[in-house]
Subunit: 335 residues, 2 copies
DNA sequence: TTGAAAGCGTTACCAC
DNA sequence: GTGGTAACGCTTTCAA
């Protein structure tokens, strides 16, 4: 590999001068600058990012920690991140987290030198981990979670849960099922609990009682939605509508309905959460989360924090929006 | 930040000894080893990967270069990569390529120190770039493209094109449209051309003539499929079936059919390519590509090449498979 | 404007 | 087994 010293020798200058040219640090005469540039070209010189990083104390990388890279919603957020980072001088390193152990490992080995900035997606992270990292000078932005003192991009999940329930209540539904994350899930995700809260508030406001026997919990996967919805629909007093905390669960619920011989939305309405691409294709009414934009904004905030500008510790709230499609309708007259 | 020297001082040993403990290089007495470990724990020491990388000449990172991170098929491949890399000591850095310029930039700045290994997905890369990189000792694996002397994971696109066409010909279709990549697309993708070749071979074998007026080219996007299929279907002698080179194009084609007042598959059959998740949901008959597995295998091969084992330059071919769903049927009797 | 040299934190080699 | 000490390739003072 060709080093800066060889370039310097070739150009008849010192290594420092080459460095100055490389980094546009100024104070280099046009003539020498040209000679150096020629030498770089002639020798096909490429700076060694490791050496540069060691010397400067930063490696020009941004870490993105994503839970469940396998899930469509995670991908959608990441798309926004990739788009925002395009053209920036930072490399994107991906940390996938599929289990709490995973998360702990990453947090343990993460250091300032491993990443100049960190984008934490969705995952609740321990406050001491966050502060330890921040204290070493790492820039941190939270997306879809929040912590005092850290810039964050969030949505109002309570409002989201409300939207879903209000839509169904307004249509005339009274027996509404709910499928969300377990409140004591191993990662400590809270958004689902928030949505459930909103779901309950909407009932209260409408002076309706939540059918507690129709409130179930499980992971954000299709088979989970299928199983839980299937059980509800097979019960004695089945719901006329079901709210799910993810589109994948909702798609599973729709399949369960069909497999039970019920039609959507005639016999049972289904509402999802996220608005992933699939939702439009299956006509799912859902609470749209600005997934792409949250990733994009998070990355932009991180770049800002990494820049000379003062880091903005503000919490940026993005709006949720109910998208009405064909999976919801007034309760059927048949029953 | 706490350095190896401070740990050494704390433990009352030399820096070299700490390093040996860190890397399990042996030749350290259990007693000193314990003292060092204690010091590490007490000081919360974490090795600086930049320094380590500079010293060792490798940064423990794998670069993945992915065209169109925005496309479902790219994501699916990446999922396999992430899964295969999980648990390995390598960090995954993502290079998204959305344009030939992008590609050139990445190839220009890529060096051995930027990534120990490189996984090139789908993208045709210039031979000299490949060799330059390989010459510096970078391990390289190609997924969905190939080059002499490089390990690669491929599929038989000609066979894939054949499958699609044979399926439709066997159903009795005679006027079959084809939508693929432009042969002179800016990236130099060739898989679509291969599929077209297979499509033609199937016609030849069945002693059928390809309806050249129904062969069109465009990008792998839904709107492209929509536009091209719409044009075909509005023509004087519309096709009774259409083969698309991606599922997104196929979904667009299905939409075009519906918007033209045609039903799928009664009036027109549609075949896609890839079998992304969406395909199952819309009942699309498609040629399944082992996307996930190709990424996974590619990553595994790369890890192998990075290990002590001899790098396997073999080409690994993964099988394509026709998945029959409800978007194809014999040509309608109505016409 | 420029060159020389001192780090940056590790690893790895060489004596002891 | 262990400590000392060159590298690794770059940036950044500090003089000149």
């Amino acid at each position: 590999m060709v080093t800066i010293r060889e370039v310097a020798a070739h150009a008849g200058v010192g290594a420092g001068t080459v460095s100055r040219v490389l980094n546009d640090s100024g104070h280099v005469s046009p003539a020498t600058r040209a000679r150096v540039l020629d030498a770089i070209e002639a020798l096909h010189y490429r700076p060694n990012p490791l050496a540069r990083g060691l010397s400067r104390g930063r490696g020009q990388t941004i870490g993105v920690i994503v839970p469940f890279f396998t899930q469509a919603s995670a991908i959608e957020r990441l798309r926004g991140v990739v788009a925002a980072l395009d053209g920036s001088p930072y490399d994107l390193v991906l940390f996938d987290v599929e289990s709490p152990t995973h998360r702990a490992e990453h947090m343990a080995t993460l250091t300032r030198q491993r990443a100049d900035g960190l984008l934490v997606m969705t995952l609740p992270v321990r406050a001491d981990d966050l502060h330890r990292l921040a204290d070493t000078g790492m820039a941190i932005v939270l997306v879809d979670s929040s912590h005092d003192g850290f810039p964050a991009v969030v949505t109002d999940d309570v409002a989201g849960g409300r939207m879903a329930a209000e839509h169904l209540l307004a249509l005339g539904h009274r027996d509404i099922g709910f499928i969300g994350d377990a409140p004591d899930n191993p990662f400590g995700f809270t958004s689902s609990a928030q949505r459930e809260l909103g779901f309950r508030q909407a009932h209260d406001d409408a002076e309706r009682v939540v059918r507690e026997d129709l409130v179930h919990h499980g992971a954000h996967q299709r088979d989970v939605g299928y199983a839980l919805a299937g059980r509800m629909l097979a019960g004695d007093e089945p719901p006329t509508a079901i709210v799910c905390c993810s589109d994948m669960q909702a798609v599973g619920a729709m399949e369960a309905a069909r497999d039970t011989g019920l039609s959507v939305p005639d016999d049972v309405s289904v509402v999802g959460f996220d608005d992933i691409e699939l939702a439009a294709h299956v006509g799912l009414t859902t609470v749209r989360q600005p997934l792409y934009r949250s990733g994009e904004l998070g990355a932009r905030l991180l770049l800002e924090a990494l820049g000379a500008h003062p880091p903005e510790p503000g919490v940026h709230e993005l709006d949720l929006e109910l998208v009405t499609r064909t999976s919801t309708a007034p309760p059927g007259v048949r029953r």
